[in-house]
């Protein structure tokens, strides 16, 4: 039902069932919010969104009140502004004054509020509870001194990701946010996905910043610095450098990286093609002997840690194949080093990822050989943006260049792995070929592209009945896992990505509230898939060439380096 209400002396249209906030937004009226999160039930905790409603003595939180027909609302009356100002002043009274040194300087919601409300001085005495930084995790740094207790991280961690690492601790002035027993993150059940960072309004949660290591390596004449670009990163930078969101910036990024001094630039998507082939082969084998099905995907390190913590009994169901990052890492330090006659320890291998958990993955023992990690440093998309700015480089002024051989070519299967459902689709294409010897006519697997909690695709290939599923978020994964444990057996492959929508929304991506951006990225990934001539991983000529180089014993040891192992983890659940 549509009706009229009065806002700031003007009549606007409102829809029954909407909140006041939603009504205002639809009419282009901005009211600040802090604790409110789209698609979550409002809590009304922070009160920054208050408005004046005629006939009500108290100010009303617009995010949690339904709009009603009789309402006459003032969104920016002196009284409202005074209230908002006081709230921000109170927040600032227990917030450190170090914006200049803060990682969120320029993109902090608290800073923005203080600016918009014109706060020019400290009116309230400073009350600073002593809170120490927690740098223990390889991926996520917590700085509780900067926390304004909005609770957004707690909610995303519980309701969207489904791991519940963070929660409120204590009450009143003493309240803080942290893992169980206020422990350090590295001993908690945190799976490093970084989604808490994506919703934190301040610098209270941020990625571990590894730019300085990269700078050092670039300065060191002894180091041969190579970098791999994740297929997701190159389409997630565009809007940061003045292009349309979702635009493929691969060529520009490659030339920009070369200007910084990287000796070689490779594409992770090349390794993704290898992964897809290997996973399809592994699945083919498992279908033959009927063991350890369904098989779970292994490329999301956050999902892997979750399985190691909660489902030890299913570890043998995870594909043994390394993630694309780690396949590339191993190829660089072993195959490429030997080929180029460079000592592995002189190579500094950098990886650009949309993901904070990849930092953790790179440090896993399984990915280290004789004390040398395959990947030396992982930079998230956000750090890549900062690095480019640090060098003062203008991406738009660059001339697109190609990546370096032998890891320069990808199929479009290697591209779509960045979005939820993409890995399953890519693996299916290769599996189909393995089972039938034929190429799939219609390569597009629509059921794996729909926006549903659990995407499923069932088909009959040869005399095999094949079921594929793809989920993102652990709530959905848990549901499938429980079904499997209860005996469900019509699924052979399950792809799990922890981040909402997949890596495209990874915890290392530029922070934004604009949900259209992620949609643009997904669309462009599928457009690329549509246009590219090589759509299946088994036809990537560079991969075929690489595998042709190895025979006999050498081949066995080469293949072994593409696999990994998993370990049971004891952490507080």
């Amino acid at each position: 039902m549509i009706f009229n209400i009065e806002v700031n002396d003007k009549t606007i249209k409102a829809k029954k069932g909407d909140t006041i906030l939603e009504t205002l937004r639809k009419n282009g009226i901005t009211v600040p919010t802090l604790c409110n999160m789209e698609t979550f039930t409002p809590t009304g905790a922070c009160r920054i969104c208050v408005v004046e409603v005629e006939g009500r003595d108290d100010l009303v939180t617009s995010c949690s009140h339904p709009v009603e027909e009789w309402m006459k609302i003032k969104t920016h009356s002196p009284r409202v502004i005074r209230a908002r100002r006081t709230i921000v002043e109170l927040l600032l009274s227990s917030h450190p004054d170090d914006c200049l040194y803060c990682i969120r300087n320029g993109c902090c919601e608290l800073q923005q509020l203080a600016r918009e409300l014109g706060i020019r001085e400290r009116r309230l005495p400073v009350v600073k509870p002593l809170r120490k930084k927690d740098p223990s995790s390889a991926s996520v740094v917590r700085d509780p001194a900067k926390c304004i207790l909005c609770g957004r991280c707690v909610r995303i961690c519980k309701d969207r990701i489904g791991i519940s690492t963070l929660d409120f601790i204590g009450k009143g002035m003493e309240t803080t946010i942290g893992p169980s027993f206020n422990n350090k993150l590295n001993v908690s059940n945190c799976i490093n996905c970084g989604q808490c960072i994506m919703v934190c309004p301040t610098g209270a949660l941020h990625e571990k910043d590894n730019i300085s290591q990269v700078m050092e390596a670039l300065q060191n004449p002894e180091k041969y610095v190579v970098v791999q670009i994740s297929p997701t990163v190159s389409i997630s930078l565009a809007e940061e450098f003045g292009s349309k969101a979702g635009k493929e910036m691969s060529g520009l990024l490659i030339s920009t990286l070369r200007k910084m001094g990287f000796n070689r630039v490779f594409k992770t998507a090349f390794a993704a093609d290898i992964m897809i082939n290997q996973v399809a082969e592994e699945l083919f084998q498992r279908l033959e002997n009927g063991a350890n099905l369904p098989m779970f995907s292994s490329d999301c390190p956050a999902f892997i840690k979750y399985m190691e913590e909660y489902h030890h009994d299913l570890l043998q169901n995870i594909s043994l194949c390394k993630s694309p990052q780690q396949i590339m890492g191993s190829l660089i330090k072993h195959h490429y080093a030997r080929q180029q006659k460079i000592k592995a320890e002189n190579i500094f291998s950098v990886s650009l990822m949309p993901c904070t958990a990849k930092k953790f993955e790179a440090q896993r023992e399984e990915n280290t050989h004789k004390g040398i990690s395959d990947i030396d440093t992982v930079l998230t998309t956000r750090e890549v943006v900062r690095l480019i700015n640090l060098f003062g480089l203008d991406m738009q002024q660059s001339v697109p260049e190609l990546a370096d051989s032998p890891f320069a070519i990808r199929s479009s299967s290697g591209k779509i792995i960045g979005t939820s459902g993409g890995v399953a689709e890519a693996v299916y294409r290769t599996l189909y070929y393995k089972l039938t010897g034929k190429n799939l006519v219609n390569f597009k697997i629509a059921p794996l592209r729909v926006n549903k909690n659990i995407r499923e695709f069932h088909s009959k290939v040869g005399n095999h009945k094949i079921g594929f599923a793809a989920v993102n978020g652990l709530e959905n994964a848990r549901e499938l896992i429980n079904q499997v444990k209860a005996g469900r057996n019509d699924l052979q492959f399950i792809e799990v990505m922890v981040c909402p929508g997949g890596c495209i929304n990874g915890g290392g991506q530029p922070i934004t509230k604009n949900t259209e951006i992620a949609k643009a990225r997904v669309k462009n990934m599928y457009d690329i898939d549509e246009k590219d001539s090589i759509k299946v991983s088994y036809k990537n000529p560079a991969v075929i060439d690489l595998f042709g180089k190895y025979t006999g014993k050498e081949k066995d040891s080469f293949l072994e380096k593409l696999t990994t192992t998993y370990q049971k983890r004891d952490v507080l659940l």
């Binding site: 519980k158 929660d167 009450k171 169980s180 027993f181 059940n189 659940l573």
Partner: protein, 154 residues
């Protein structure tokens, strides 16, 4: 069977509304909520430990360190304050090597500051468990410390 399991057994249904009663009973039996206890409750009720810790830290009634054998309470009401409560506190802190609000590592003694306990005429006063010490002097502090430490040595 351990104390915690015994408590859990008393709650036949493992529904979430039993969380607070369970925590209360565990505290009653064991004196505090240990990590181990919270982990066990988490397994029983299928609630993440972080949530249980969040709930438990919200209520003042729960403690997360074992209750000391000797609990020293120093009154900080106006009368005691004027007659030297602060001095007593700092002396005790030094001699016992713990700060107000803390419990010694061996769980023998804890220090707490309390609101007026209604014995202003006898200020300054302190309580050791249920024993009442009035008009506390330097000698009395020695006496208390010796007593507490002497026993802890045994």
């Amino acid at each position: 069977m351990g104390q915690i399991e015994t408590v859990l057994q008393r709650f036949q249904t493992n529904t979430r509304d039993n969380l607070l009663p369970i925590l209360q009973e565990i505290q009653q039996e064991t004196g505090f909520l240990s990590e181990e206890a919270i982990i066990k409750v988490s397994g029983y009720l299928k609630i993440p430990t972080s949530k249980i810790y969040a709930v438990a830290t919200f209520y003042d009634q729960f403690r997360f360190t074992p209750r000391a054998k000797y609990r020293i309470k120093i009154c900080s009401g106006t009368a005691c304050h004027i007659t030297g409560a602060e001095n007593i506190l700092s002396q005790l802190e030094k001699r016992l090597n713990i700060k107000a609000g803390e419990t010694s590592k061996d769980a023998m003694v804890s220090l707490e500051i309390s609101q007026c306990i209604g014995a202003c005429g006898l200020a300054p006063v302190i309580l050791v468990n249920d024993t009442f010490y009035a008009v506390v002097t330097a000698e009395k502090i020695d006496e208390i410390v010796d007593f507490v430490k002497g026993t802890s040595g045994n």
